[in-house]
């Protein structure tokens, strides 16, 4: 953790920038194509988008991609791996805002200021595409369909946060964890992974912080779900046995 005392970009760090020449950065070849920024853009437009992607960056597990207070210059598309984003004001107050996986965009909160207002930490060895924001903005004026898509992505982020507000504002501990698992399940399914069996990349503490619960409460809910035979598996390995039960729990607020 001490190694992440400074931001990953623009400083000596364990992050490994990958030159465009050495490895294919082609959006067209990227498996996340359909989920990421380049979605619904023509081949021709795609070339122009690829041209502004300055580099791919590897972020080892536990390292910080950017931190709150860093100058905002770029968005990042997760190419591989998982991140958590943390909002904090003051030293003691921290809230995990989300867990991002491949194809998702990081850093949109930074646009409104000159600096990031969140930190992004890799939950495992990960890789992102850096999208210099100034160049993206000028490209958007030239490619209306990309602009429309970009706006949809920002709007979807707003919508995602509304769902979390509902969760934090009015759901029980059991409902929160169930909703959390179902959300992960759906996102893995979209990515071609099993929706029934996946690995949690985050600790119980991360989950608790995200859901507004203590680590003990999270653990107890997992135990309860396992006792009900709704779930099985070791702490990080989750098998959903009774999806319907989890869904019922969420709707019957």
């Amino acid at each position: 953790m001490q190694r992440s005392a400074k931001g990953m970009l623009g400083g000596a760090s364990t992050a490994v920038p990958i030159s465009i020449g050495s490895i294919s950065t082609s959006c067209a070849n990227c498996s996340m194509h359909e989920l990421c920024l380049p979605a619904v853009v023509t081949d021709d437009d795609l070339d122009r988008l690829e041209n502004i992607l300055s580099k791919r960056v590897r972020i080892p597990r536990g390292e910080t991609l950017y931190r709150s207070g860093d100058v905002f210059t770029s968005l990042f598309a997760v190419r591989l791996g998982h991140f958590k984003t943390i909002y904090s004001e003051g030293p003691a107050t921290k809230q995990i805002i989300g867990f991002q996986m491949s194809g998702e965009i990081l850093g949109m909160e930074g646009i409104s200021h000159t600096r990031h207002k969140c930190s992004a930490v890799a939950l495992e060895d990960s890789e992102v595409c850096e999208i210099p924001y100034a160049r993206l903005e000028s490209l958007l004026t030239e490619l209306p369909s990309l602009q429309a898509h970009f706006h949809r992505m920002m709007s979807r982020e707003i919508d995602r946060e509304h769902q979390i507000m509902l969760l934090l504002g009015s759901m029980s501990a059991d409902q929160r964890v169930a909703a959390f698992l179902l959300n992960l399940s759906r996102r893995y399914e979209v990515r071609g992974f099993s929706p029934h069996h996946f690995v949690l990349r985050m600790t119980r503490e991360d989950i608790g912080n995200y859901l507004g619960l203590t680590i003990e409460s999270v653990s107890r809910v997992f135990s309860r779900f396992k006792k009900n035979d709704w779930l099985e598996g070791s702490p990080r390995d989750v098998k959903i046995l009774d999806r319907a039960a989890l869904e019922d729990l969420c709707v019957n607020l």
Copy 2:
């Protein structure tokens, strides 16, 4: 309430569209100019923005500007009055997402879908400028500074929601109410109103729903604050006597 059984726009309703000719809709003359979409745009650009504002609409207190499920076609800038926006999934689950006042933009959650995912209800007789989204998007490609500003507004909305997530995830009842009052205070101040003395436009129930508390808890917190001489005034009329005390409460999580 029965009168609001259908959306306000495009149907017989109590909403009163105001033709552009009859009343000045000039952004330049609008007192919210500096807080609203037209901020940091040149005079020339301002004309073009005004041209796409199709109409102003009056929404009487308690009426709905748009509701979840309505087709999304426009954003709305609050010109006068106050709104609450409500996210709901299922019949029972409701979460108030925010209280919007003059100069703030409504409807950005709708961009990602063809339909709104929130409802917006006027808390008092209010007036909005309708901004047809398709026309705005094409204007954005032509006016880079407006585009940049629009992105900042969406990003600011994301940031605002992060703050609420922090509040809902880890603050006590007292802290939530204090943060809520300070937030209103700041926003009134920016608008040229007293930050120490203002009128709450929403019920205790609305506040409770927004802050993830019951109506009784909200009431108790207000009573406690009054007993401490941090606050005075009748239920809806708030005078902040000890701002520092409220601020302390929020930082000392």
